[in-house]
């Protein structure tokens, strides 16, 4: 039994600022409608490829999307930035209307595109709790009956009668989340909002989402970039690309497809030559595809070089950068004496060292201990993936690296 059916859904956006040019388009469009013709701008609209330069001012953020979601399913929606995920959620939650196509849904719908929508800084936590609950579609009666539970969940009992403008940002978010977590719609639409919360909240909220779906047969649509959460929480997946459905099906298939599709690379034929030293290529062996590696397996880099003359001392450095946090660490080979010919350097990073982050790798070749021969930035782009996690907590493991081989001991006195 389907809870949601989406048929040929499309959404067109106009790029650029709304200005005087818009009026002429509006008049033209109106003139076409009057004569019973189709919107002239629908024809010129292009697929929404962010990085490609287009000719049209109109783009399809979603183009002819059709899918259905069975009742009780948790559908994970994945895709790169600009793939149309948020637009899809907005149209599903009626924040904006479709350009064409239709959506049919069964049951009460609540959407959580943001937490704390409509919070008023001057009002107290209690007042905001009621207001926010009502905005999300709860009745006063429902809120009153769950009030204590919500306050307990948020953990801000003490401040409940203080204006929220005096709250720390963490308290503010917790209260807002608490309201959202107690929504009881038949269909719940959740955007990346959970990314804002602290780990403790994520655990609570994701757990709660799973609970409602399992026990009460609710349908959940969930957008996230956190593959760990998606993988552990969702049963079905939908991958969007440039406003089209790329794949739809079992969550693992969809995630694999998404990963394979991303712009990561585990191989780079560099072929850079300097001072008679050829840096031929760098690649990863036997772990993952296209730069997506499993963090619980060792990661081996092999670097092929060829030199036209003898070198007394060469060492190769790899720099690991996190997308969000600059250089994390560097590793350096021992100084090698290289005879003329081809050579291969390998570097192995033990399993369970890196985290499920996006990394870029720079390579530097140094002769005689200090003279730089090659320095190539972002020679590889990698994505760490965590295997499906068991247990209650599905949030992102904090940190840029995640060495799990540190030893822990307990001594009792």
């Amino acid at each position: 039994m389907n809870a949601i059916e989406v048929n040929n859904l499309s959404k067109m956006y106009r790029l650029g600022a709304v200005s005087t040019g818009t009026l002429s388009h509006d008049l033209n469009r109106w003139w076409h409608t009057v004569r019973g013709l189709e919107d002239p701008y629908k024809k010129v609209a292009e697929a929404n490829a962010r990085d490609a330069k287009g000719d049209s001012e109109y783009v399809w953020s979603l183009k002819d999307i059709s899918f259905s979601v069975a009742q009780g399913e948790i559908l994970g929606i994945v895709g790169r930035n600009g793939a149309g995920k948020s637009t899809l959620l907005k149209v599903l939650s009626k924040v904006t209307g479709p350009t064409s196509g239709s959506i049919k849904m069964k049951g009460r719908v609540a959407s959580l595109l943001e937490v704390g929508t409509g919070f008023h800084p001057e009002l107290t936590g209690r007042e905001n709790l009621f207001l926010n609950g009502a905005i999300l579609g709860m009745t006063k009666q429902e809120i009153r009956s769950k009030f204590d539970e919500i306050v307990a969940f948020s953990g801000v009992e003490r401040y409940i009668d203080t204006p929220v403008k005096r709250y720390s940002s963490g308290m503010y978010v917790r209260l807002a989340f608490a309201v959202a977590a107690h929504l009881e719609p038949e269909i719940l639409i959740v955007d990346e909002v959970l990314a804002v919360g602290d780990a403790e909240f994520q655990k609570k909220c994701l757990g709660k989402m799973k609970d409602v779906s399992d026990k009460e047969g609710r349908t959940v649509l969930f957008v996230s970039h956190n593959m760990t959460a998606v993988k552990s929480l969702c049963t079905k997946g939908l991958q969007l690309h440039h406003g089209n459905v790329k794949t739809m099906g079992e969550i693992d298939t969809v995630i694999d497809s998404y990963i394979a599709f991303a712009a990561f690379s585990s191989h780079n034929a560099v072929n850079a030559k300097n001072e008679g030293f050829l840096l031929r290529e760098i690649s990863i062996k036997d772990n993952g595809i296209k730069g997506n590696f499993d963090i619980d397996q060792e990661l081996t880099f092999s670097i092929d070089v060829e030199n036209e003359q003898d070198f007394e001392s060469i060492n190769i450095n790899l720099f690991f950068n996190a997308m969000e946090g600059g250089l994390i660490f560097a590793t350096c080979s021992t100084a090698e004496q290289l005879k003329k010919g081809a050579h291969r350097f390998t570097c192995t990073i033990p399993a369970n060292t890196l985290n499920d982050n996006v990394y870029s790798v720079d390579i530097m070749v140094v002769k005689q201990g200090s003279k730089q021969v090659h320095y190539i930035k972002e020679v590889l782009a990698l994505q760490g993936n965590e295997p499906k996690r068991e247990g209650a907590w599905l949030g992102k493991f904090p940190g840029l690296i995640r060495p799990t081989y540190f030893s822990w001991n307990k001594t009792s006195f």
Binding site: V18, D26, M105, T117
Partner: protein, 284 residues
Amino acid sequence: MSNKENIQEWTEVIEAKRSLLQINLKEIWRYRDLISLLVRRDFVANYKQTILGPIWFFLQPLFTTLMFTLLFARMGKLSTDGLPPMLFYMCGITFWNYFAECLKKNSTTFIDNQSVFGKVYFPRLVLPISVSLSNTIRLGIQFLLFLATYLYFILNGSPIRVTSYVLLLPVNVLLLGLLSLGIGVLISSLTTKYRDLRFLIDFGVQLLMYATVIFPASSYPEKYQWVAKVNPLIPLMETTKLGLLGAGSFDPQAYLGCVIVTIISLFTGVLVFNMTEQNFMDVV
């Protein structure tokens, strides 16, 4: 599963084109708690961190009245239909403020609330309705001030009297409320894409105040009588004054005209608002 069953099952169907008259009153009714909470928010949030708090409800019209009395009646020697200027202006200001506040606040519904509208759906009409309701309550409170002033003047033997037209007072308030709601939501819909009208509103409301509050209909010179005729607020103001203070006029024809204008603007406003609400987020 048969096709018929399928159609009955769906509780929510979202399509690109909506029929013009698809105003879901049932849905608005379902969100009545939100309306009442928004009304509450308007009151509570407004006077937080003020020492005088709700007393400001009285101070605003009081000071405006004193100012008008001084400026227009004492210095400008403008006609107040033979009524004590204080009462004349206070009556005008109380009802005018109601109309003007509703109009101004409702005319920015979409622009003011885009951050909320962009994130969550509820019937958008809930907001203008709550604005109009909270202003109606405010009118009720400010009317108490008027009544107090009224009593003071009665006790001092002023020549004022209540006439049977006072029975029309609730109708007048309703018409003022609906008219400002209609025009307000119409303007709010028209300004989502093109902001030009917004500049007109501030300016227009100010001009309208002079034409409505300061000059009684009887004081318009012959040449400008048409101004009094086209201003739909004049019959309402005049009837209100006639009922409460015993000086003013009741022109059944003009009054009916005002009712018609109200109904038309309410329908047009709600219709256009309804057409706009689905996609306004894309252009606001």
